[in-house]
């Protein structure tokens, strides 16, 4: 029995077990899910060690011990120490020792998120919105109209998310009247956007279903 055949049979079984969820939650689905979670976790953990910790931390330090530490290798002593502390979190009584390591991780993550948000989203999106009005690049009036619609969509959607409000005479908390009107337009743009995205998501899901059915056909020799 060839490995491909074994792979195909196992994949077929798992596909059936998962699709059985369409009937309802059942043990077959549960078994497939738990196996999937276990295998993926073990695989990812192995990948983390083999492709992150070993090449970035352990191997350089190992080579440093063997052939003398370079500055870059010596600096790795810090993450090595912090990793040791972080491993303590696996044991609840000592989990507090891992706090500094988590602090560094969270600090770097927060900074990456902030930096990414500013350099990766805010500026590029704002620039792209404005750039659409570049007269030199405009080929037709309708492209200007489209650019205006995009601008309107961006602004009204941004206004839609405005949080600040005030209490009215009747006790209800609502936003300023003009903001409410603009926000309404924003909700229209949002609905259209989500609808377009949903169509894409559904296309992807439908393609996945078709691929699985095609896999069945291939497995049974129809494909």
């Amino acid at each position: 029995m060839s490995p491909d055949l074994i792979t195909g049979m196992v994949a077929f079984l798992f596909t059936l077990m998962i699709l059985s969820y369409l009937i309802g939650d059942n043990p077959l689905f549960r078994v497939a899910v738990y196996i999937f979670v276990g295998v993926s976790a073990g695989y990812v953990a192995a990948v983390s060690i083999r492709q992150v910790l070993w090449p970035d931390l352990l191997q350089p330090l190992y080579q440093g011990f063997l052939f003398g530490m370079s500055l870059r290798q010596a600096v790795l002593a810090v993450p090595f120490f912090l990793s040791g502390l972080l491993l303590m979190k696996a044991w609840p009584p000592l989990s507090r020792l891992g706090m500094p390591a988590m602090g560094l991780l969270v600090g770097a993550g927060a900074a990456a998120a902030v930096g990414g948000a500013v350099t990766g989203t805010l500026f590029p999106q704002v620039n792209a919105t404005i750039a659409a009005f570049d007269i030199t690049g405009v080929t037709s009036p309708e492209s200007l109209l489209n650019a205006g619609l995009v601008l309107a969509g961006v602004i009204t959607t941004l206004v839609y998310f405005h949080f600040g409000a005030r209490t009215r005479a009747d006790g209800s908390v609502r936003r300023f009247g003009l903001i409410e009107i603009i926000a309404f337009l924003g909700s229209v743009f949002l609905a259209i956007t989500l609808g377009v995205l949903f169509a894409g998501v559904y296309s992807a899901a439908l393609t996945a279903l078709i691929e699985r059915l095609h896999f069945f056909g291939t497995f049974f020799g129809f494909g």
């Binding site: 994949a11 295998v39 073990g42 695989y43 988590m102 995009v150 969509g153 609808g195 899901a205």
Partner: protein, 203 residues
């Protein structure tokens, strides 16, 4: 420990953040990011321990579904052991991925084809408002525009309306969402950097 965590978080955050805007600090930023990436890799191991702890507890306390937990742990240990020994790039591990991970995930995605259809049908019963109606109408329009008919395609729909919705109307809303998310990310990250939020522990 709390203080050390706070100091490390703020210090690292400031250095990494400034590195995005001041190229001179890029090398230092890279060092800290490398450390963070290494710690994230270590955290993956701790996470596996957490998974073992949770499901091990279920088994030891004979909780509901302990058999599934046992299956999970067996698979986890097997995949981890072979992945560590053979390496993720080993044909055996590829077989594992192709036989288990790929079909299960692809099947779950396939299940979405039914569940999303079911959900969208029920949407107008749950939330019968203008947004929902517009949402469904737009989705239907986009789907029709994505398909072709046996006798050909609806030109205006496939070649004009669908691209216009995708590239103009949806783009405006999507950019608004992305900018809004960026603003939220900015303030949320800054809350951590100024020490107001301390998810790593602290009252």
């Amino acid at each position: 420990m709390r203080i050390a965590a706070l100091v490390l978080a703020v210090l690292t955050g400031v250095i990494v953040l400034v590195g995005y805007f001041i190229p001179v600090l890029n090398p230092i930023q890279t060092i800290f990011l490398t450390w963070a990436i290494i710690l994230a890799g270590t955290a993956a191991l701790v996470g596996v321990f957490n998974l073992i702890l949770v499901h091990g507890t279920k088994i030891s306390q004979r909780e509901k579904g302990r058999i599934y937990s046992a299956i999970l742990l067996i698979c986890l240990f097997a995949a981890f052991f072979f992945g560590l020994v053979l390496g993720p790039d080993h044909p055996g591990m590829r077989l594992l991925v192709n036989a288990v991970i790929v079909p299960v995930e692809a099947s779950l995605m396939a299940v979405l084809a039914v569940t999303l259809l079911y959900a969208s049908i029920r949407l107008l019963r749950r939330r019968a408002n203008l947004m929902s109606v517009l949402f469904i109408a737009t989705a239907l329009l986009m789907m029709i525009g994505s398909a072709t008919l046996p006798f050909g395609e609806v030109g205006a729909l496939n070649n004009f309306l669908r691209p216009w919705f995708q590239h103009v109307l949806a783009l405006g809303g999507a950019r608004g969402i992305l900018i809004g998310v960026a603003l939220g990310t900015l303030t949320t990250g800054l809350r951590v950097l100024i020490g107001a939020d301390r998810p790593y522990g602290g009252k």
